[in-house]
């Protein structure tokens, strides 16, 4: 059973969003996603300052058996990326909701309307057999 922390919001494409006190958000991929991908060997992150569009590819995660796009759950501007992932992509496998965070984004106003709560995402996972 995948971990789905109650305090986060989720995209159907298996990214999570954490609201930070300063109004920015932290973004990563879910426990379900990291488990489905297997051991990660490479993470390609966007440039700081890049404008992201909700639902558009913003990063790539590569495992020994697959490479997959990560879709931005919000529209906004990249404030920071997790540089530690360059040398230790396995942080995503180990702590996808913690040290495996991927980027911090300043969201554009009203861009997070489509996201799911933990219960809705859990139901979504159940529906796809996750």
């Amino acid at each position: 059973m995948s971990q789905v922390p109650a305090d986060l919001r989720y995209a159907k494409s298996h990214e999570w969003v954490r609201n930070l006190p300063d109004g920015s958000v932290e973004i990563g991929i879910t426990d379900h996603a990291q488990h489905a991908l297997g051991d990660l060997v490479f993470v390609e992150l966007p440039e700081v300052g890049r404008a992201l569009e909700a639902g558009a590819a913003c990063a790539v995660v590569e495992s020994v058996k697959a490479a997959s796009d990560v879709y931005s759950p919000v529209s906004g501007t990249v404030l920071a990326v997790n540089e530690a992932l360059a040398g230790t992509p396995e942080l995503i496998n180990q702590e996808c909701y913690g040290r495996g965070w991927m980027m911090r984004v300043q969201p554009a106003a009203g861009s997070a309307a489509e996201l799911l709560g933990a219960d809705a995402y859990t139901a979504e996972l159940a529906a796809i057999g996750g």
């Binding site: 490479f42 590569e62 495992s63 058996k65």
Partner: protein
């Protein structure tokens, strides 16, 4: 015996299963006006014996002309051992096998090839080879656009001193993917990139500058200054090089302060015979930081569970069978046989042998130019250092000169009028280590005769 995978009964059963009346019905979606009923002008099939006889008769008609052609394909001596070893059963396949790791010997050859090509170019990582020099330039252009994280530009600067065939292949391969190639003229006196014209592109958003060294005319570009200029503009540098020349010229990794970012070229000079334009092979190297944007297969060295060394395809997540539509390229194999020949050629010659080939070719061309320009009505088009090719200009029509020389069994060079009309009656000539003093004398005699 013909290879027939399915019997008529098999075919009927498969068609019945999917509810289709005949095989033609499977192609219904192709509009009738695009389909042809028959191939006009194609004669009936010949047997192997008949075709062998026909081709050997035609080959005799060609004779054994003395060739001074270059322009991207070069006649070098190939030690007999190269193809004797390459055509051994263990190597004799055009492809990387599908269960690649089951063929450790094949993978080791590719690994050795990659090691030699990285050593020649100075860059950190090589793929397992591409189709030819032209397609390698096209792939490098696509890769530069993909790998450039600071620029989203689809435009590249491609000087007129880059092989016109490579430029055409790049346009036909990458043009429909939105890439745009802007040309830069050359200086009339030196045949090298016009730096003032180039500087006018400063400040514009380009993904890369392509630099061919030696350039299409055989002239040596100021690669250090060009590379530094491009990097100062935020552009990548794509080096297009002749592998033989790298035995005596500075490797692209050392161009300017930071070195070229991607290096490609035609691998034919390394042990592949001239053969009506191919098959040849392309090579490509880059910095490790760009490896995930690189097209083609890559072989890595690893250890198995017991700690024994072995070879494996690596970084496959770039490739079609994993990344599908977002793969770095539609190329998912390599020119296995020709790459094998090149590896054996480089092994037999070694760095010193390759340097001797390069030095001797340079010296032969210099001697040829001295002899040819002593003939009235013939002069060198450009000044400045060159490798093993040169452009000659004539007062007389080049087409006639070449025709008359060919009657005497001498292929006098490649006419440039189609691609460089501004040069007038111009000829690109090349003499490699295969040309003796006697051969050079024959060239000049044929030239004098043709101009008479």
């Amino acid at each position: 015996m013909p290879f027939v995978p399915h019997t008529d009964a098999d075919v009927r059963e498969m068609l019945a299963t999917i509810g289709v009346s005949d095989i033609d019905a499977l192609f219904d979606e192709i509009p009738p006006e695009l389909r042809i009923a028959g191939l006009d002008g194609i004669p009936v099939a010949l047997s192997e014996m008949q075709i062998g006889r026909l081709m050997s008769e035609r080959a005799q008609r060609d004779g054994r002309p003395l060739s001074f052609l270059g322009a991207g394909a070069y006649e070098h001596h190939i030690p007999s051992a190269v193809w004797a070893i390459t055509t051994r059963g263990e190597f004799y396949s055009a492809y990387t096998p599908y269960q690649a790791e089951a063929s450790q010997g094949t993978l080791q050859v590719i690994y050795e090839y990659q090691s030699m090509i990285t050593s020649l170019t100075g860059l950190e990582v090589s793929n397992a080879s591409l189709y030819d020099g032209g397609s390698a330039v096209a792939e490098a252009a696509l890769m530069a656009v993909r790998a450039h994280r600071k620029s989203k530009s689809l435009r590249l600067l491609v000087p007129a001193t880059v092989n016109p065939n490579y430029r055409r292949v790049a346009v036909s391969t990458a043009g429909n993917q939105g890439l745009q190639f802007d040309t830069v003229p050359y200086v009339a006196g030196t045949g090298c990139i016009d730096r003032e014209a180039l500087a006018r592109h400063g400040g514009a958003d380009y993904a890369a500058l392509v630099i061919q060294q030696p350039n299409f005319f055989g002239q040596l570009e100021d690669v250090d200054a060009l590379t530094d200029w491009a990097h100062a503009q935020g552009m990548f540098v794509i080096a297009v090089v002749n592998p033989t020349s790298l035995a005596i010229l500075k490797p692209p990794a050392e161009w300017g302060t930071k070195g070229a970012d991607i290096c490609v070229g035609e691998g034919q000079p390394l042990g592949v015979p001239l053969s009506s334009g191919g098959p040849y092979f392309g090579f490509m190297t880059t910095r490790m930081e760009h490896v995930r944007s690189m097209p083609g297969r890559i072989v890595g060295r690893t250890v198995d569970l017991d700690g024994r060394p072995g070879f494996t395809l690596t970084l496959q997540a770039r490739e079609q069978h994993i990344r599908r539509g977002k793969a770095t390229s539609n190329i998912c194999t390599n020119q296995g046989l020709l790459m094998t020949a090149a590896t054996i050629y480089m092994t037999l010659l070694g760095p010193q042998g390759l340097a001797r080939v390069a030095e001797e070719s340079r010296a032969r061309t210099r001697a040829l130019v001295e002899l040819a320009t002593a003939v009235p009505g013939v002069r060198a088009a450009f000044t400045g250092p060159r490798f093993h090719e040169a452009v000659l200009r004539f007062d007389a029509p080049v087409a006639t000169v070449l025709e008359r020389m060919a009657v005497g069994g001498v292929l006098g060079g490649v006419a440039l009028a189609d691609d460089y009309p501004e040069l007038g009656e111009a000829l690109l000539v090349c003499a490699t280590e295969t040309k003796t003093d006697e051969d050079l004398r024959r060239y000049v005699e044929a030239l004098r005769g043709a101009l008479r």
